[in-house]
Symmetry: none
Subunit: 194 residues, 4 copies
DNA sequence: AATGAATGAGCATTCATTCAT
DNA sequence: GATGAATGAATGCTCATTCAT
């Protein structure tokens, strides 16, 4: 990794929390220089503009979550066990290994859906990938005889994702972790009923 | 309604879409003057500041949804029928009677949770009220013998709300109405299984 | 005094402190409506504009001081006694009978000298009148044999006025009443040496 | 002196007259950009806000006067000669070497005394320093046998300062330079009588 | 005579971005 | 590759003033 690449990475990491808490529009270049200790010129030397940083930060924050999920899944041998990683991990969504500021997908989706088509597409892809992972795991579980053949993988995947995202929103805005616990228990029960 | 009250209402109605699509921070006073045809001075003659407009717009947009729900519920005689109004209405969330820009609670919650404590509290109250309505309807349904006594009203209410909110986010960002339909069908099934 | 005249007087009295502490430019119409409890419309119904209020307030505040001086002088039978009223009164310049905010002439002079020719002229007249009073009293005192014939009335009048005005400024900005006391003692000694 | 420091200095010098004639509140950012030829952004890149410029301008204008005094004093060998510099210099207070707009201390003191505690403190310090200089010179003059031991340095210093400040006010507002000449002659006589 | 509501120019300040060095 | 300095448009907000009622 060359110097340029290292600086880019440095900027991304140092501003990751900023973008995920304040949002893209409300994060100013001044916020970014303060968070990094770098100058505006330096940031513009490494990125085309603020939106490009925001995009890369989104990818970075997203990878942080998907990486966490992958790690946990690797330890599980059954498909049910693998899927159960999601409710387990999101129960601890203010764990230090989680991006500060809540779910990156939710935050970004809500900010950009009516205004930033490009970024919207990026979030859409992330969701699609998440859904595909779940669909794959459910179908594999069916084929492996772990789950009933009557399950509709697509619908179940959407249900898991929607409940998790709704749970994050409810928990963050109310400050009641009990909401997250109740809802993740519900998701868990759903998965155990496959 | 005096002139002042009418102008206030006019400003709220004309900027309601603006705030619910762009968000509070990204909606500028210029946007607001263009949407209303009024001057900045006129807006500040009727509201203390932009945040006050945003707050009243939130309440206005919220009432639009709750009003729609109330109307529909009034036509239903059973508790199950009343609760089923939610998935039915949200399936048509881009109906003209719905605030443009998606779910007000979701949009506002995500923008303000880490930054605007006062507005956050307002959203929190709205969610609590929604949840209380559902808990009440479920418990009444149980007492009326409509639903099994084994239902946990609180958990079910959360599940309905979380799924709806997650569904709105997924549908808006992906543009796939099918997501909303699949998820509202799931909520419907849940309610029918009470 | 008709209703209009009474309202005018009311506005002047209620804003007198405002103008003499904040200055003309820094006193806003909002300040004025808050101080009077009247509306902007009402103020504009009684005065052509803010500057006209400021002018009348200047005259009102000025009269407050000159009135105080006249009262005190009336009690004195000698010319020396009359002139000594000035240092005596200014020693108590934060007396409630004195306009709050310090010397009206000083405050207004410094604000308007480079910018408001009309108001400047008004202040200039006030100073001239003050000086003429002093010159008259000194000359009368000379003619009455109270003071030495070697006194130059004009120069002494200026000296008294300048010292008083300088004293007000020094005392207000430093907060040290001792400055006023020392300087008024000096003026007193000067008058006693006539 | 780096570029930033040079620009700062440039802004201070170009706006010095502005602040000393119109006052702080009445000097707008537009006035400042027109006086400097720079943009608002450039001014804010070099100063935290308008008040910071005003503060530095006050110090600059003050130094202009104290510098002038120091130069003149350096040429005098006696303490009396040194003190006499004050009335001599202020007689020429519209000399080009003098800040345009009159006495910085007077102008600033009157504007800020009731409203800007921080700036008020700054003016207070300037006055204290001026008084201390005079007290020092008088006491040294006494010790050197130049002046009578009966002089009260503190009182005399105050008298000189108050008369000068009062003189500036009277002269500026009336436009009569004769006032300044008469009053500075009085101060001169006072000093010669030490 | 007074009010409530509006105007539009003006305010101080911050923004994302550029570019010579 | 990075910096410091600048830009100019945009920000939220306040101003003195007007005028129909």
């Amino acid at each position: 990794m060359g110097k340029a690449e290292r600086t880019k990475q440095f900027i991304i990491e140092k501003t990751a929390t900023l973008f995920n808490t304040k949002g893209i529009a409300a994060t100013s270049l001044l916020d970014m220089t303060e968070a990094t200790g770098l100058t505006k010129g330096s940031i513009y030397g490494n990125f085309k503009n603020k939106d490009e940083v925001a995009l890369e930060v989104f990818r970075y924050n997203l990878k942080k979550v998907t990486g966490l999920v992958s790690e946990e899944m690797a330890r599980e041998s059954t498909f049910r066990g693998k899927i159960l990683c999601y409710p387990r991990i999101y129960t601890l969504f203010d764990d230090p290994r989680f991006p500060v500021g809540g779910c990156v997908i939710l935050n970004t989706a809500v900010e950009v859906d009516d205004t930033h088509p490009l970024m919207c597409e990026e979030v859409s892809k992330a969701i699609n990938s998440w859904k595909n992972t779940l669909v794959f795991l459910i179908n594999e579980g069916i084929q492996a005889g772990e789950f009933s053949t009557e399950n509709n993988a697509e619908d179940l995947a959407l249900q898991i994702i929607a409940t998790i995202e709704g749970a994050v929103m409810l928990t963050k805005v109310s400050g009641k972790i009990a909401y997250m616990q109740s809802l993740m228990k519900t998701v868990e029960n759903l998965i155990n009923s496959f």
